[in-house]
């Protein structure tokens, strides 16, 4: 089977890779590019562990072909922290103990950031519906909701301080 050459941008960095025509973006990110923050849960678009952004839209990377990344902007959890400085969402998840086993966490961080980028002040209901496609079997979700809302407050205060 012929491989396909793909030119894309991942977390702001121009990236090239070869992939099989039936290879998912999830497999490309993990196996070819070493971005193992992207997790495989179900592989069928139900659990959200493999969430990434594709041209700013939240998607399950298991439902995207690697070849579809051609010319696109991909965002993964690896792009959240700036150097050693964690993203406010990441810090808040630690502060609120919003994870246990952690396999759902990268997907939830990416999904939560996608929401806060378009709505800096969501209600709990909006947040819970937005994250309905991110399954967590450990926390019972409550701490996740608290952590995201705390991070949203921090991010709003920072934005206000910067005028």
């Amino acid at each position: 089977m012929k491989t396909i050459q793909v030119s894309t941008t991942i977390n702001g960095d121009a990236t090239e890779f070869l992939c099989g025509p039936d290879e998912s973006l999830l497999d490309v990110l993990r196996n070819r590019l070493g971005l193992t923050g992207v997790k495989e849960g179900c592989g069928t678009g139900d659990c959200g562990a493999c969430s990434v952004t594709l041209d700013g839209r939240l998607v399950c990377s298991c439902l995207v072909l690697g070849a579809e990344a051609e010319g696109a902007q991909i965002g993964t959890v690896e792009g959240l922290a700036q150097g050693d400085r964690l993203h406010p969402l990441q810090q808040s998840f630690i502060d609120h103990a919003a994870l246990q086993c952690g396999i759902c966490t990268p997907g939830i961080l990416v999904a939560a950031k996608a929401l806060l980028d378009r709505n800096p002040d969501p209600t709990d209901t909006e947040l819970r519906y937005w994250l309905a496609g991110n399954l967590c079997r450990c926390t019972g979700y409550d701490k996740i909701i608290h952590a995201v809302q705390a991070a949203a407050r921090t991010m709003r205060e920072t934005a206000d301080a910067q005028g």
Binding site: G45, D46, R57, V64, L65
Partner: protein, 276 residues
């Protein structure tokens, strides 16, 4: 290219069904054609007072389109019920139709809207009413080499509204056990002048129930008319018994949902009339 391939083929837009089928081994296509980059396939274009929705427009983009939401709220709410935020970022209305599920959430609303599907085939483009596309579970009337390029939602008279409701055990991330869509137009006196009623997940394909529409045309959707609508819907059901719902349950709930959807559609028609 699709017509020339002797093996199994799949057309890719959002991929939320095709990728799952490939992974589960339900489909092993020799050829997958990603049509998203063809001209117009990712656009919502105003046309003759309605909207033409490109086949690769994801649900989230439809949900963010204020004009489309205002004109066909029932169609948009059906599309928005498909899957999670992540799935909404990819899944398309045309893909939901072509996947051929009897429980497809986008399809009853499209049938009630009398939407028209534009198909590019080997012999050129043609238009087809949406009701003629589904052929049975997982099957459509589309031929090999056919590509759905867009779905047209027509203009509608003043005082028109539509609504879609489904029953699922959970509030999110589930597949319809029964669903109903109603589109109607009211006269200046508030009586229904035109209506279309469609049911999902109660037969091998979506049903357009003329008897249900006739039961409410000429009425003001009083209790007797709504009861007649519900009875006509239940009478039209030919559902399966499965773990998600029994025949008796689906048959009864189809009528209940149709009645509620008709009431919502009427309220929206009044609001649309007030706004105009």
């Amino acid at each position: 290219m699709l017509a020339a391939e002797p093996g199994v083929t799949r057309i890719l837009t959002g991929g939320t069904d095709v990728m799952v089928q490939m992974r589960a081994g339900l489909a092993a296509p020799a050829l997958v054609v990603d049509v998203k980059h063809l001209t117009g396939l990712r656009a919502i274009t105003p046309e003759a007072g309605g909207y033409r929705i490109g086949a690769a427009v994801p649900g989230a983009v439809m949900g963010e389109h204020a004009g489309l939401r205002a004109l066909w709220p029932g169609v948009v709410e059906g599309v928005e019920l498909i899957g999670s935020t992540q799935v909404q970022g990819r899944a398309t209305m045309a893909g939901n139709l072509c996947n051929g599920s009897p429980a497809a959430d986008a399809v009853p609303g499209l049938v009630a809207a009398d939407a028209v599907v534009r198909i590019m085939g080997v012999d050129g483009a043609r238009d087809c009413p949406v009701i003629d596309i589904p052929a049975g579970p997982g099957r459509t009337t589309l031929a090999k080499g056919d590509i759905v390029t867009s779905i047209f939602l027509p203009a509608r008279p003043a005082r028109s509204g539509d609504a879609y409701l489904r029953f699922t055990p959970r509030s999110e991330m589930d597949i319809a056990v029964v669903s109903a869509a109603v589109s109607l137009t009211l006269g200046a006196d508030g009586a229904v002048t035109a209506a279309r009623v469609a049911l999902g997940a109660v037969a091998p394909t979506v049903l357009l129930v003329d008897e249900a529409a006739q039961a409410i045309i000429g009425t003001r959707l009083d209790d007797a008319a709504l009861a007649a609508l519900a009875a006509a819907c239940s009478a039209a059901c030919r559902p399966i018994d499965d773990k998600r719902g029994t025949v008796a349950f689906r048959t009864q709930v189809a009528g209940v949902l149709a009645r509620r959807a008709a009431s919502i559609a009427r309220d929206r028609a009044h609001s649309a009339g007030d706004a105009a």
